[in-house]
Structure formats: structure tokens, C-alpha cells
């Protein structure tokens, strides 16, 4: 910081010799003239003094009979006349600085963080509708209104904060972590639990509602297992009325499941020839500047690397520089052997089993086999699983008259 101030104000390195340089230095300090970097050379002293201090040295030098000579000039006051001679350079510098200042009045990047369920694209399309986009003026942005708007538009957002950091708009949100509430049925309307597939009941715990099946029963898809219409009986065991509840139960149904995975016999293998080609490019916004756009090879894949230059990184100005590496390859036709096909298909099948386990489906028995079908290897799995998934359906209300008649 001190060095910057010294540079702005300007300073000189002087050479002092004569009768008593020490007295010269003492007088300088007495007159509050700062001296620094004092060195003893062969027969003289050198030191640095500010430009303002240097202008007050003459009487001190005369009084101490010391001789003073400038060795080197440093700082902006000496640099300005040099600049003045180079008008084009100065103009370029001024244009650069004004572009810098001008571009700092706009928003050049929008960053959204903290969103998990709402995608960044959803955010950006909402912002576009609200006239907030890259390239807009900073003063046109009402941050408070934006925060309110986000909370209004997305129900999942419980907290939203927007702030400007340089030319970047940073939006941070917090989504509601609490589980989604189950729809509470209206009064007088119950919910049944129905079987989502054919199978056999292996376990059953009913907390609310009337069970319609029991353990060991075979059920078919769509069959009501627990009814949300609970009868209230009279003393003579006749139904007086029905109370409608939202059924709640843990029911495990065992059922059979089939899964088939296919893999074509042959495939194209990329055999890289080792020939590569690198092309550099600069991307400014939507425009791409590349040395050549000629097709690199007959068959190739490309790896693109791009990075904002350090100067633009913090400014968030969309200027990117990078390179594309083209790698040539040849397509070679190959056939899968039974081991290879088995390995690939087993991988796919295991992934399916894992996804079932993640859903809470317990596999009790599995029969997996691989065979050569027409044009493809086929792996089929015959599974017996225990699933706790249930389908919620609205309870059929008993017509008013019938309920009364029952009562």
C-alpha cells in the first residue's frame, strides 16, 4: 500500500556527498522530510525522497554544504509526460478503462445455488420472464422484488437471497426439506388401499380402516385390501352409519416379476489410430472464433476444454478461451462372446436388482438365464419379490338411502 502511494506521488533516488551528509539527513528528519533506503556507497550516500520532499531540499543542502544529484526518477508524475507523448497508447488505455467501467454497470453472470428439486433451467426461465437476464443493467434489478417473486413462484422455496457480487448475480435458495404432506381427504370421504399387482399377501398390519383380505389370500391388481369405510353398528348388529377414514396399513404382497435385458451380437468398436489434432478457439458470448473449421478426420471424437482467462474470471464477462482435441478412430466390427455378453448383461441386471432394493422391494427368489436369441443375447430373470407398495383409491361412498336402510 505504501509502495502504491509512493508511486502515485512520485519519488526520486538521490546521491548526497559533501561536507557532512549525516547532518543533511538529520536536518531532513527535523523538517519532516522522510528519507528511506539510505545506503553508503563509495564516497557518497544514496537515498530515496518523495517528490514533495525533494523540492524542499535546496535550503538544507545549502546549509549543510552538501551536494545533491538525482540518480533515478520513479512514479506517476514522471510517467505522465511519457504517456502524453504516446497518444494512441493513452487513448487505448482510456478506452480500456472506460470499457471496464461501462461493463461493470451490467450483470454478466447469474449463479443459482441451493436448489435440488427445482432445476437451474427452471430458475433461469422464470428470471427471463421477469426480465432478468445476462446483459441487463444492474440498476434495473430490484433485488427485494426478485426474492419475493421467487418465493411466490416456487412453493418449495422457504428462503431466498439474491445479491450482486461485482457483475455476478448470486441467488441462494433453501428448499423445504420436510416430506411432502399426504393429501388429507375431505370430511365424509375415505381412502382405500388397493393391490397394485396380482400376488399373495404375506404380512399385514392394519392401523386404520377395515381389512378385506387376510394373510395367505391371493389378490388381484386393483383389489381393495383395506377399506376406508368403517361401519358403526347398532346394538342389534345392524349398520347405523359409515365413518370414512383414510386407511393406513403395512401390507406385503409377494408376486412374480419378469425382467429381460438384450444385447446385440455385434457392435462397433472405436479403435484409436493415435493421430490427434488440437485447435484453439476464443468464444465471446454466442460467437465462436476458431482458426479452422475444416473436418479434422473421417471418424473422430473431440474433447473440448474451455476456461475464462484470469482477467475475465472474476468479472464474469462471457469470454472463454480453449482448445478442441480431435482424436481419430476407426470403426471395427466386433461380436460379443458369451462371457462378455454375460458380464455386460449381468451388470445391467444387477443394476435393476439394486434399484428394486432401493425401492424397498425384497427379492426372495430369482432365476436368471442367458441365451442367444435372434440377433441378440437375451438375459431373462424370473423373480419372486415381496413388495410393500400400495395404491390409494377413493372409497366408494354408500348411497344415502342405502346407508339409512342399513341403519
Amino acid at each position: 500500500m505504501v509502495a502504491i502511494l509512493q508511486f502515485i506521488r512520485g519519488y526520486v533516488r538521490i546521491k548526497v556527498w559533501g561536507f557532512s551528509p549525516e547532518r543533511f539527513m538529520n536536518l531532513c528528519s527535523f523538517h519532516d522530510i522522510l528519507l528511506w533506503d539510505i545506503r553508503k556507497e563509495d564516497g557518497f550516500h544514496t537515498m530515496c525522497v518523495s517528490l514533495r520532499g525533494f523540492r524542499r531540499l535546496r535550503p538544507i543542502a545549502r546549509k549543510t554544504k552538501a551536494r545533491v544529484a538525482i540518480l533515478q526518477r520513479y512514479g506517476l508524475p514522471f510517467f505522465m509526460p511519457f504517456l502524453w507523448k504516446r497518444k494512441v497508447f493513452l487513448l487505448g488505455l482510456l478506452l480500456c478503462v472506460s470499457f471496464w467501467i461501462f461493463s461493470s454497470y451490467f450483470i454478466w453472470d447469474i449463479e443459482v445455488s441451493g436448489n435440488e428439486r427445482i432445476t437451474s433451467d427452471q430458475f433461469l426461465s422464470y428470471l427471463r420472464l421477469d426480465q432478468i437476464a445476462v446483459g441487463m443493467k444492474k440498476k434495473d434489478l430490484d433485488i427485494e422484488e426478485l426474492e419475493k417473486g421467487l418465493r411466490r413462484q416456487f412453493d418449495e422455496i422457504t428462503w431466498a437471497s439474491a445479491r450482486l457480487e461485482g457483475t455476478k448475480l448470486i441467488i441462494e435458495v433453501k428448499e423445504n426439506d420436510a416430506p411432502t404432506q399426504v393429501d388429507i381427504p375431505q370430511e365424509g370421504q375415505g381412502m382405500d388401499l388397493a393391490a397394485p399387482f396380482d400376488g399373495t399377501i404375506v404380512s399385514m398390519i392394519v392401523r386404520k380402516g377395515v381389512p378385506k383380505v387376510q394373510i395367505g389370500d391371493a389378490v388381484s391388481s386393483g383389489q381393495v385390501l383395506v377399506e376406508g369405510r368403517v361401519p358403526v353398528y347398532n346394538e342389534d348388529a345392524t349398520v347405523r352409519e359409515y365413518e370414512y377414514v383414510s386407511s393406513d396399513a403395512d401390507i406385503t404382497i409377494e408376486h412374480r416379476l419378469q425382467r429381460m435385458e438384450e444385447l446385440p451380437w455385434d457392435y462397433l468398436e472405436k479403435r484409436y489410430t493415435g493421430r490427434t489434432l488440437v485447435r484453439h478457439f476464443v468464444r465471446i458470448g454466442k460467437w465462436l472464433f476458431q482458426a479452422s473449421t475444416k473436418r479434422a478426420f473421417l471418424a473422430f471424437d473431440q474433447v473440448t476444454q474451455e476456461k475464462a482467462p484470469l482477467v475475465f474470471e472474476k468479472l464474469s464477462i462471457p469470454v472463454l478461451a480453449g482448445s478442441v482435441t480431435y482424436r481419430e478412430y476407426q470403426n471395427v466390427e466386433r461380436e460379443y462372446s458369451q462371457e462378455e455378453a454375460g458380464r455386460i448383461l449381468s451388470g445391467k441386471m444387477n443394476e435393476f436388482f439394486r434399484s428394486l432394493e432401493e425401492k424397498g422391494v425384497h427379492i426372495t427368489q430369482k432365476d436368471v438365464k442367458i441365451e442367444k436369441g435372434a440377433g441378440a443375447w437375451v438375459m431373462s430373470a424370473d423373480l419372486t419379490v415381496q413388495d410393500r407398495a400400495l395404491r390409494r383409491v377413493e372409497t366408494q361412498a354408500v348411497p344415502e338411502g342405502e346407508a339409512k336402510a342399513g341403519g
Binding site: C28, F30, L34, L35, D37, I38, K40, H45
Partner: protein, 93 residues
């Protein structure tokens, strides 16, 4: 001579008793050394002699001589100064 020394000791005793800073009240030179490469000095009157091998400073009550090689003055103001270089000895004269 005797009188002066007793006066000094009396003043010193008073400063000691009141726990006042000695450099302020007695005008003692304050020298802070960092290893043998840097010295920071306060409360001096001026430079008496400066060569590459020694720097002789005048204080209120005594003179201090820094001896060494490649001695340079980083900055020099009315309040304080900093000496850098290879300091071999500090002598009070």
C-alpha cells in the same frame, strides 16, 4: 558529579515507583533488535556518523554505535528509524 548521579537515581526511582515508561520520562533510547539483521530505534537525536561498517547515533543521555557489515538505513524520520544489514555489535558510548 555525585549530585548529578543522585538526581538521576532519584528521578529513576520516581519513574520506577510510578511505573511510568522510562523511554518517555527519562529520554532513554529504545532499541529493538530482530536477530542480528534488523534494528528498530526510537528516541534518538540524530546520526553522528554513517559508514557501511558502523552507524553512530546520538541519544539524549548516551551514544549508541551499531557495528557490522552492509549496514543500510531502511527509513529515517524524526520519530524512529530502522537499520538493516548484518549487525555484529551494539556499543553504548
Amino acid at each position: 558529579m555525585k549530585k548529578t548521579s543522585s538526581h538521576h537515581s532519584g528521578k529513576e526511582a520516581l519513574v520506577e515507583a510510578l511505573r511510568l515508561p522510562k523511554d518517555v520520562c527519562l529520554g532513554a533510547m529504545r532499541v529493538t533488535l530482530t536477530g542480528n539483521s534488523e534494528a528498530w530505534i526510537e528516541n534518538y537525536r540524530g546520526i553522528l556518523e554513517y559508514t557501511g561498517q558502523s552507524i553512530l547515533l546520538q541519544g539524549k543521555t548516551c551514544q549508541v554505535c551499531f557495528e557490522g557489515s552492509g549496514l543500510a538505513i531502511d527509513y529515517y524520520t524524526n520519530e524512529d528509524m530502522k537499520i538493516s544489514g548484518c549487525i555484529n555489535a551494539v556499543r553504548y558510548l
